[in-house]
Symmetry: C2
Subunit: 272 residues, 2 copies
DNA sequence: GCCCATTTGTGCGTATGTATG
DNA sequence: GCATACATACGCACAAATGGG
């Protein structure tokens, strides 16, 4: 009998072994394949937060991977914030593993307590193929680019406009899904479940200038009101560009929590 | 004869061995000690950018550290952006190693070419001990806190106000240095040379609201003009809080490049 | 184009130390 | 004290990338 101190259940090495088979490819380092297998198990919801992983010895015994390599994969997962480990205790899926991987950049506005975020509701505005050049072409390269524009309602306090640019050949979901599915809360879940890739690096740029007229109208401020323009580029851990996203943010009374690359320490309360 | 393809010179394992002695302490993992020794050599300017490090075999042969452990330290340094490595080529101090470590968050505004930053000139405004509570107390804890306020001139185009909060017991330089030394270009160099710690994590918050009146006056915009308020917390790799910094940014025509945690891929031109 | 030395990158197996309950 | 499990370290072998002859 094994003791599962935190919530949730445990995981058997066998299950991971079969999963590993789907990710192991010739040329791909084993520690990457193992990481991918774990990420997948977490992403698909099969290993909810708090799930206990087998210990290092068990993994090394039941997988065709040496202990040192196992450890390297686990270190990688810790750095990415997917799992947490405690000496003499065990290895567990991190409390917020899914959210951290899936949406390093959705709108997080800190509430009055400083320990939580305001609820966000997204409203689909438009989806279009863009042919013009812009920051998105720099990042995503040539080829077809799809833009999805949404209006984000932040805790019934204010609104902002978000535009995300993706390559439909990399993320076909965006083209295939009916417009109404692009609406609502679970946008990001849908999105990264289909991408299946973890974000490796994020680059962000901020400018402060009058909001475009159409945006000002959407978010309900006077024409010419200055606001923040936040641009973000995201790459997978493999280095392939994933998306370009821009936000037009009118003046408001909240603090927006910007994402950092890789492991995100979370809110200040539980900072490193 | 060894061939040093990039600029600068090479390094001998012996020199590193003596340096390592100053960092190795009982209880401290060897890979951390080696990392610290390299960081120190780079920070003190003794290994300028492009300096070639000995290869893995040499290091393992001349240091009391096994190859696997050497590799772990070098991986760590790569993740932190201190060194760059190329198979079959060698290990070199990264082109911008100092800048990246020392100032993950100084004002970087992209110029017209999109490949470089505008020149920044900083002007000392005031230094004071703050007793009031604020975001800085959350991060830095109780105890004395020193605030240094500066006016940053961005490429003769506009100005912004920067305030940095530190604990004088952690970074005594800030208290000891005469005010005129806190002025000018080399502020950040002075600063992190004395800190000797690499930044491990950065957390950032953005709000958009009217600039405080005193700030508006300093940067030369009308009272009540909305601007961006950027707050940043930085921790060392060890997890101890290093500083809290805030920027008041008026509307302008440039893109500010926000720092990301850990290794920073640089400008878009040389992104991953 | 091809071989070859150099150097990094990956993987294995083992041993030992340290934190936790 | 004791068992468990993570953490560090060692030494070796081989694969893959690079650059020069």
């Amino acid at each position: 009998m094994r003791t599962p101190p935190p919530p949730a259940g445990t995981t058997d090495p066998q299950g991971l072994a079969s999963r590993l088979g789907r990710f192991a490819r010739p040329g791909l380092p084993k520690y990457v394949a193992l990481r991918d297998a774990v990420v997948d198990a977490v992403n698909t919801g099969q290993w909810p937060a708090g799930t206990r992983l087998p210990n290092e010895q068990d993994l090394a015994a039941h997988l065709p991977i040496a202990l040192g390599t196992i450890q390297r994969a686990l270190r990688l997962l810790v750095e990415e914030g997917i799992i947490v480990r405690r000496s003499g205790h065990g290895t567990f899926v991190a409390p917020t593993a899914i959210g951290r991987m899936n949406s390093p950049l959705h709108c997080r506005f800190v509430d009055d307590t400083g320990r939580d975020y305001l609820p966000v509701r997204s409203q689909f505005l438009s989806r279009a193929e863009v042919a013009t050049k812009g920051p998105w072409t720099e990042a995503l390269g040539a080829g077809r680019i799809l833009m999805i524009e949404r209006l984000m309602h932040i805790g019934d306090e204010f609104r902002l406009v978000s535009r995300i640019y993706v390559r439909p050949d990399v993320l076909p979901v965006f083209e295939e899904l009916p417009a109404r599915k692009l609406d609502g809360e679970n946008f990001k879940d849908i999105m990264w479940r289909h991408a299946g890739q973890a974000i490796g690096a994020v680059q962000q740029f901020l400018s402060v200038r009058p909001l475009p007229d159409d945006v000002a109208k959407r978010v309900g401020v006077k024409r010419g009101t200055p606001g923040s323009h936040l641009e973000a580029f995201a790459w997978s851990t493999g280095g392939t560009p994933l998306y370009f996203q821009e936000f037009f943010i009118p003046p408001h009374g909240r603090r927006m929590h910007l994402p950092s690359s890789g492991r995100d320490p979370g809110l200040l309360a539980d900072a490193p």
